[in-house]
Homo-oligomer: 348 residues x 4
C-alpha cells in the first residue's frame, strides 16, 4: 500500500485518476489538490465518486502534498515544471500527465509552448512513459512524463512499422479525431454542448503541439528523422480517440505484404496486456475501449495502393492519460502492470 | 411552374427533396412514390412536413409518375437503372440521386456494385451534375447523375488544384467523415443510436464505392490519371460531411506558395453561389452549412511541409444530395440556379 | 422596409434573430450590438451567416442604435430595463426577449430576479406577446415582452382548457425538458459538452423563475388563481422544448370526454398559423419543429384516469424566443403575421 | 464458483450481464445462447469483450444450457415462459430479466402483453426481485422476476413514502425519461440515430406496460390500492433513466415537513449499498450512475406547495436490469450482495 497525491484533480484527467485509483488495491489516496476548489468535498464536484472518496480538496502546496509516495500532476503545462523540485524533495516520485517533460529538446518545447522551460535541468531525468516501448526505463523513473493522448494512439500504430523499416519515414499522415473531453474541464464557449454537438471540425490544421512529441517518438523508433503531417479533429462524443494513419510502404514493406504485416503486428504486441491487434479486416470503434486502458489496432490496404492504413483507437482519458499514468506507476513501484486497470469497456 | 415527382421518398434524400421543394416557387409536387408506404399520407411519416404536403405516397410505377416534367430518383442503386427507359418515355427529365449513372465505365460500375448494369446504353447520355465543373452540359441533360456526398466535398476541394497542376496526381489522401444520415433511413443494428452515438470509427477502409467516382472526376480535371486513398468515417451527428484532404504540392505548387493558392481558390469560386472559400486560417465546421446547399473550404499548410491540406464541409443531404439535385434541376429548366435554395444554415 | 437593431446579438437568441431577419422581406438590419465583440465582423463569430450579414458589431449605446424602427433586446435580464427609456426616446418600438417586462407584479419580479426593477413605471405599458392569446394588444405595443420558452410551450397547452373550465386550477403539473441552447452562449462548466452530453437531469426543482410568468398567464386565462408545479429538465440536444402537462379534469372536463376535448383544441387553434393540434394519439417530437416557429400539441388520457395529459413541443430558440419575437413584430408593424417565418422544420 | 448461462445474449441486457459477470469472482460463464448468432464468437459481436470471453453463442436449447447453476433470461417477453419448466428441470435457478413473471395477476399480464401466459402455474412461485424491499424472499427464489427499468427507478423513490403513509395513494405522477438503449438492440427505424438524436419525445402516453408492474409494487408497499399516471420519454442518450415523481403529501406528510422526510429517506436506505439518498437540494444526473448499480435520489418541495417531488436516477442497463439481476443472484447463492458490482460510475 502506497500513498498517492493528485495535483489538479478538478480536471478530467484528475477525476479519472480518482475513478481508477479508488479501487486500486495498493493505493491510498492521501491528498488531492485543487486551487479553485480547495476546501470542498471531492464528491461534491464529482458525484460519481460519492461513497468512494471522502476527502476534501487541499491547496496545491508541497506541504499539503508531503507524505505521498507518488504524486500525479494532472495540470495544464507549466505547473509541474514550477513545482517539480519541491515535490521531488518531499521524496515522492512523480507521474506527470502534462506536457512539461515529454519533449527532450528544450528549445523545441519552448517554441511550441511559447514560454521558457522552468526546470530545464530536470528534462534529461524524465522518462517518457509509453510502456510498450520504454518499459525498462520506466521502472526506475523519478519523473515520469506520461505521453499525450494523440501521441499514444499514433505511436502505437506506427512504431512497429518503423522499427522494422517497413514504411517511409517521410510523408506519414496522422488524421486523428478526439472526443470533447480532450479539451478539458474549463469554461469555454467553443466547448459548450450547443457549440460542438451535432457538428464536426478539424482544428490545429496549421500545426498542433502534439506533433513534435509524436515525431520525437517515431524518430527514436525509426533510428532516423521522421516527419509527420498531423491534423486533429473534434468529434461530438465525450471520450475516445481514433487515429487513421497513412504510411507509404517501403520496398521492404511492399515485399512483405499485408498478411505478413498483420502477423508482425500481432507478434510485436502479443505480450502487451493493453494493446489489441484486431483480426484482419476489423474496424475499431472508440466505444470498444470506453473506460478501459486498451488500445485496439487494425491494419488495412486498398487495392492497387502502396499506402498502408492503420486505424488506432483508445480512450483519451484512460490509455491516453490516467490509465497509462497508473500503468506507469505500477511499473515504477513494482506492482503487477495491470493492477487496478482491469475494466471491461462500457458498451453500449 | 413545373410538375415534379419523387421516386423513393421515404428515405432521407427523398424527404429532404420534399423539405426543399415545397417552398420552391416554380415547383408543384405531383407524385411521391414509396413502395413500402404507398397509400399513407406523406406527413404521417414526416411530421415536419405537416401543413406543407397534403398528398399520399403512390406506388413507384411509370403510370403513377406520368405527367411530371422532372422525376427525382432518391432510391438505392439499381432502381433508377431498371425504371429509366419507362420514365424517359413519359417525357420527364430525370435527376438521379443514386449511383446508377455516375460512373462512365460500365465494368468499373459493375465491379464495385456487384451486379450487371441494367441500362448500359444510357450511361453515355447521363451528365454528371457537379455544377461548379460541368454547368454547361447540365443545362441540356435528360439524365442527370447527381454526385455522391463524399465525391462532392472532395472534388470541390481538389479540382482547382488539379486544374492548375499544383498538386501531385498520386499519393492524394481524402480522410472523410460523415454524419449518420448518410447510412440512410432503413432499419439496421449498426445505425441504432445506442450503437453509434458517443463513438467514432472508420469504415470501408479497404475500399469504398465512392472512390472510383471521385477518381473519375479528379482524373477529368487533371487531364491525367489520379489515384486517391479514400477512407470514410462515421461521426455521431445527424448531418454533415467534413473531408480533410492531403495533397503533395508539385514544383509549381511549392513555387506558388500558400497565399497565392488561397487567392487562386477564391478566384476559381468567386462566382459560385454555393462555394465559400473561407479566409486563410479558418476551420470549417459542418454546422456552419447545416440545412444549406453551401460548401465551405479552407486551405492550410504546416511549417516545413510540402503537403497542402484542405478542409471541406457540406451538408450531406443538401449539397451532398437533394440541394445539389435541385441546383441541377434549376439549371436544366432555366430557372435561377439558386431558386429555392436560399437557406441560412441552422446554427446552433 | 423597416430598420431593425439587435442588442446583445452574440447570444443564441440574438444570432437566431439574425438567421431569421436576414431573409425577412420587410427588414433591413441596421445595427447589431455586442459589448464583448464590438468592432468584430458578425460573420466571424457566426460563420453560418457568411454571405448574409456584412456588418460589424457595435457598442450597445442608444447613439449606435438610433435610427431603428424596432429594437430587439436579446440580453440577460436587467439590460432592457436599464436602457428602455433611452431606446424609446429614439422613437423605436421595442421587442424585449428577456424577462424584464413579462411579469406585471413588480414585487414578484424583484423577488424572483433578486434585484430592484429599473423601470417600474414602464411595466404597465408592456404587452405580453403570446399572439395566440393577446393578438389585439400586441398590434399597438410600444414595449413588447416576448414570452419565455417554457411559458410558451406550457401556456399554449393549458390555456384552451382553462378558458373553458375543463381542468382544475390547482394541482397542475408541467414537467418540461429543454435542449442545452436554453442555457445560453456563455462559458460555463455545467454547459460543456463533456458535462451534459449523454446525461439527463432535472434542475430548478425547488423553484424556477419561469413559474410566476406561467402562473400569471394561466391565471389570466382561467379568470382565477392557478397554481402550478413546474420542473424543468436538461436534455442532451441543442434545440427544442417538450412539456408534458398533467391536468386533473373538472366535472365539466370529465363530462366532455377526450374526443370532444381534442375537437375543442382543434377549433381553438384552427386559424393559428403556428399552432398544430396533432391527430389523436400523436406523439410530438421536438425535431418535428426544429428551426421553425411551430408549436405542436397532442392530447392524451390513460385508461381509468381523470388526468388529462398534453404534450407540447416547440423550438426554444424560435417559437420560444426569436421566431415569436418576429411574429410579434409583424403584428406590431402591420405585416403579414407569418412573414419571414415560413421555414420547414429541419428533419432529420 | 458457480456456472452461469445466459439466454438471449445478443441484446443489451445480455451483453451487459457479460460485461459484469466476466469479472465476478464466483462466476464461470458456461453457456451463452443466441438464436440469431449461434455459432459465432461472442467477442465478434461485442468487441468490448475481446480478451474477456472466448466462447461461441450456442442455440437456446435446454441441452445446450444444462449444467448451469443459474440461468439468466435476457429475452423479449414470452421466451422465458415457454422455456421455464424445461430449464428448471435441469436443476438451474432462474433470474428472468424479462416481464414474464413480474405481474402476479395473470389476467392483468395477459391484457397488457396481448397473449396468453404460457406458464401460469409458475407465477406464484416467482419472486419479485427488488432487493431493497424483498430481500428475504429473494434468497430462496427458484424463479426470480427481475424488475423493469422504469419500475426500479420509480418504486425506489416512492416506496419509503407509501410505507409511512406520507403521500396520497391517488394522483401520483411519474414522468420518466430513458436513454435509447431501453429500446433494445434490434433493427428499427425509430431507434436509428438519425431519427432519435438531437430530439426528445414522450411515448406510450396513453398507457405503457410498466404501469401495472409499478402499481402492483406501490400497492403492496402502501397496503392500499395505488393509482399512478406514468409517462415515459425518450432521451437522446445511450444509458440512464431519470424519473421525476410528483406525490401529493397527506396530512401526515405535510406535518412532517421536508427536512424530516429527507431524514426518513436517509434512514430507510442507510444500509442499502446501492441506494444513495443525496443531500438536500441535490440534482441527480444520470451520468452520476453510468455503468454502476447505484440509484441516486433527491427530495424537493416548491414554495407554497404540498406536492413532494422526487428525482430518481439509475443506469437502465445496470440497476434497471443486469446489475440488479446479479445483485439478486448474489442473494440467491449466498454471496456478498455487492460482489462483482463495485464499479465507479464512468464520468464524464
Amino acid at each position: 500500500m502506497i500513498k498517492a497525491g493528485i495535483v489538479g484533480a478538478t480536471g478530467y484527467t484528475g477525476s479519472e485518476l480518482l475513478r481508477l485509483l479508488v479501487l486500486h488495491p495498493e493505493i491510498e489516496i492521501h491528498a488531492v489538490s485543487s486551487r479553485s476548489d480547495a476546501g470542498r468535498l471531492v464528491s461534491e464536484i464529482f458525484p460519481n465518486l460519492r461513497g468512494y472518496v471522502d476527502i476534501n480538496f487541499c491547496e496545491p502546496s508541497p506541504e499539503q502534498l508531503s507524505g505521498c509516495d507518488v504524486i500525479f500532476f494532472a495540470t495544464p503545462h507549466g505547473v509541474a515544471q514550477a513545482m517539480m523540485s519541491d515535490i521531488l524533495s518531499t521524496g515522492a516520485r512523480v507521474v506527470d500527465l502534462s506536457a512539461d517533460f515529454r519533449i527532450k529538446d528544450q528549445t523545441v518545447w519552448e517554441s511550441w509552448y511559447q514560454q521558457p522551460h522552468n526546470s530545464p535541468e530536470l528534462i534529461a531525468d524524465a522518462v517518457y512513459g509509453l510502456p510498450e516501448v520504454h518499459r525498462d526505463e520506466i521502472c526506475d523513473a523519478k519523473i515520469l512524463a506520461c505521453p499525450g493522448c494523440y501521441p499514444t494512439a499514433i505511436q502505437l500504430g506506427l512504431i512497429p512499422l518503423l522499427e522494422k523499416g517497413l514504411i517511409s519515414t517521410q510523408g506519414l499522415i496522422a488524421d486523428a479525431k478526439s472526443g470533447v473531453s480532450g479539451a478539458g474541464r474549463k469554461a469555454s464557449v467553443p466547448s459548450l454542448m450547443a457549440e460542438c454537438a451535432d457538428s464536426f471540425k478539424a482544428y490545429g490544421i496549421s500545426g498542433h503541439r502534439h506533433r513534435p512529441e509524436i515525431e520525437q517518438g517515431l524518430t527514436r523508433a525509426a533510428g532516423a528523422d521522421v516527419s509527420l503531417t498531423f491534423v486533429p479533429h473534434l468529434v461530438p462524443m465525450i471520450r475516445g480517440i481514433e487515429a487513421t494513419l497513412y504510411a507509404p510502404l517501403t520496398g521492404a514493406g511492399k515485399a512483405m505484404g499485408l498478411e505478413a504485416i498483420q502477423a508482425m503486428f500481432e507478434q510485436r504486441y502479443q505480450n502487451e496486456p493493453f494493446v489489441d491487434v484486431m483480426p484482419a479486416g476489423s474496424l475499431p470503434e472508440t466505444r470498444s475501449v470506453k473506460g478501459s486502458n486498451i488500445c485496439r489496432l487494425a491494419i488495412h490496404q486498398q487495392t492497387g495502393s502502396d499506402m498502408l492504413i492503420i486505424s488506432s483507437v483508445i480512450d483519451n482519458l484512460v490509455k491516453g492519460a490516467s490509465g497509462q499514468a497508473i500503468q506507469n506507476m505500477n511499473l515504477m513501484f513494482g506492482f503487477e502492470e495491470t493492477l487496478g486497470l482491469n475494466h471491461v469497456p462500457l458498451s453500449p
